[in-house]
Amino acid sequence: MSTTSTLRPRGLLRVRRPWRLAAEAAALVIAAVVAFPLYWMVISAFKPAGEVQSDHPRPWTLHPSLDAFRRVFDQQDFGRYFLNSLLVAGVVVVVSSLIAFLAATAVTRFRFRFRTTLLIMFLVAQMVPVEALTIPMFFLMRDLGDTVPGIGLNTLGSLMLPHIAFSLPFAIWMLRGFVKAVPPALEEAAYIDGASRGRFLWQILFPLVFPGLVATSVFSFISTWNDFLFAKSFIISATENSTLPMALLVFFKDEGNDWGGIMAASTIMTIPVLIFFMLVQRRLVSGLGGAVKD
């Protein structure tokens, strides 16, 4: 700090320092505003019922309680919904990552006919409004359920399959950068040492690309975990197969919403994503940079 300030003309410094302090103050205030909704969610979840539904809401509580969480787990099968959500998101992440890894390898490490066409297709596929496909998906799942047990309507399979498909184009697109970053010399060396294609793919390339896979999987995880539309449309009668977003809405009632319960359930639903996100955020940003620049 001091070395640069002696180099700069004094006038410039005097103008700049208050500006930077103002900018820093603004940044802190904005950070507080941006963080406030999450803070409010958590604090409301821990407030006793009387304080949540109060005419004088305060941003703190002197009597933290777990009542709201207890209500959430007692009133319905919330634990089960949590596990359902986790299972669906987990299967989607693993399956779509593996498929995307293979496809990304194909389009980055090989030159073949229709390669560019395929890439454009993957790009266009990302833009497809998946919500618009709810109607045909609904009938597809209904028909699948008649022939293949376990993936029709009202099953968790009906939530996994569409998300595997919808997360693929973006995952492939993002993984390209990570696969491309592995130097071709490594591949040559592996083949010279007599490694087969399969061996190179799974024992050399896969571990090297794995960090990228984790970063990419955040997106499939989040879109699946957050899914509201399919969960609402496909799980009609089998409530034991509901996922978290649906369970949350139960606390919205005509005679008055149970805000404490809603906030507690929201907290439980947000925390896994938050943890996942914080763990991979560094890679995420660099990966996004790659996806953007390529």
């Binding site: 539904q53 496809a103 409004p129 957050n226």
Partner: protein
């Protein structure tokens, strides 16, 4: 997967140490690289799972969507009570002659435009701000933004509705405390515009971080001398952004703009949760929710599919525009 691919069979053994067989190592080295470049059937083998999944669960449903949109397809046909009949463009003429469809379409476009502009403005402004502050405020803002980014749409919606709740939410109280008495027990979801505004706040809150982080990374990649030169020339923050940063960041800005357009055009969860399925008398419907209500609430699957096709076509147009932009910039895929 065979363990030995034909290209890797060139014997590597004599290549070592023997000077006399100089061409051999070259061939041994070249053939696998050529193999990696062409690979015959291998790339298609790798692509097969992805292509099968996408064909079955993306392309086929798109085809089905188009098909259903030309059918008379309501509860009676679904349950088999009446035969399915072909209507041609009947669903579309019904749709286009319905005043509500046009209102929803205009609302969707206006709402998406407002979201995109606000998200980009907030994201870019904060990215510039991040470059002008020291580590502590920067990390604070980054962490807060990451939290907002990671929040699921459903929980984000419930929290924002709660914040703006007329009875128990803090926002109305703070506004009254600031002297805006009109906001005492003000119900944000009752009025059409303020309900849209509420949803917009939530959408901007959870989508500006992507813009901010990406643009910030882009600014950091700009050589320091360029920005220094601008500041030595006495350029204001706005001028630096407009004449120096924005042109350099153009490719990044295009990507985040397109992403925002696509996301904001098909907002579903936020509208559905925050306005309880499209607002009072459907005043806050957007195309996505409208299609859902037509199909699953009133069992008019044909009509709902026609709305889906309209959405698909609009986003396809955006995508094609994007591809043209990419091509004009000479980006290589």
């Amino acid at each position: 997967m065979t363990s030995v691919s034909p290209n890797a069979t060139a014997p590597p053994a004599p290549a070592r140490g023997e000077r006399g067989t100089a061409p051999a190592p070259i061939r041994a080295r070249r053939s696998p690289r050529l193999g990696a470049a062409r690979g015959g059937r291998t790339p298609w083998l790798y692509l097969a799972p992805a292509l099968i999944v996408l064909a079955g669960l993306l392309i086929y449903p798109i085809y089905q969507l188009g098909l259903i949109s030309t059918l008379q397809y309501t509860q009676a046909q679904v349950s088999g009570g009446e035969p399915t009949s072909f209507r041609g463009l009947g669903n579309y003429t019904d749709l286009f002659s319905d005043g509500q469809f046009w209102r929803v379409l205009v609302a969707t476009l206006a709402f998406a435009a407002a979201c995109v502009v606000s998200t980009l403005a907030v994201g870019c402004a904060l990215a510039v701000l991040l470059t002008r502050v020291r580590a502590v405020p920067r990390i604070a803002l980054m962490l807060a933004a990451l939290g907002a980014w990671a929040t699921p749409a459903v929980t984000g919606s419930t929290v924002w509705v709660f914040l703006f709740d007329p009875d128990f939410g803090p926002v109305d109280k703070v506004l009254v405390w600031l002297g805006l008495d009109g906001f005492a027990d003000y119900s944000w979801t009752y009025d059409r515009l303020s309900a849209f505004a509420l949803v917009l706040f939530e959408v901007v809150w959870c989508s500006f971080p992507l813009v901010m982080v990406t643009v910030y990374a882009g600014i950091k990649a700009i050589p320091g001398e360029v920005l220094e030169a601008a500041s030595l020339d006495g350029a204001s923050a706005w001028r630096t952004w407009r004449s120096v940063m924005a042109p350099i960041l153009r490719p990044i800005l295009i990507v985040v703009t397109i992403q925002s357009i696509i996301w904001d055009f098909k907002v579903f969860t936020q509208i559905y949760v925050m306005t309880d399925g499209g607002g009072i008398a459907g005043q806050n419907l957007v195309l996505n929710v409208y299609a859902y209500q037509k199909a699953f609430a009133s069992s008019q699957y044909g009509l709902g599919s026609a709305i889906g096709v309209v959405m698909l076509l609009i986003l396809l147009a955006v995508t094609l525009g994007y591809l043209r932009l990419l091509r004009r910039q000479g980006e290589e895929l």
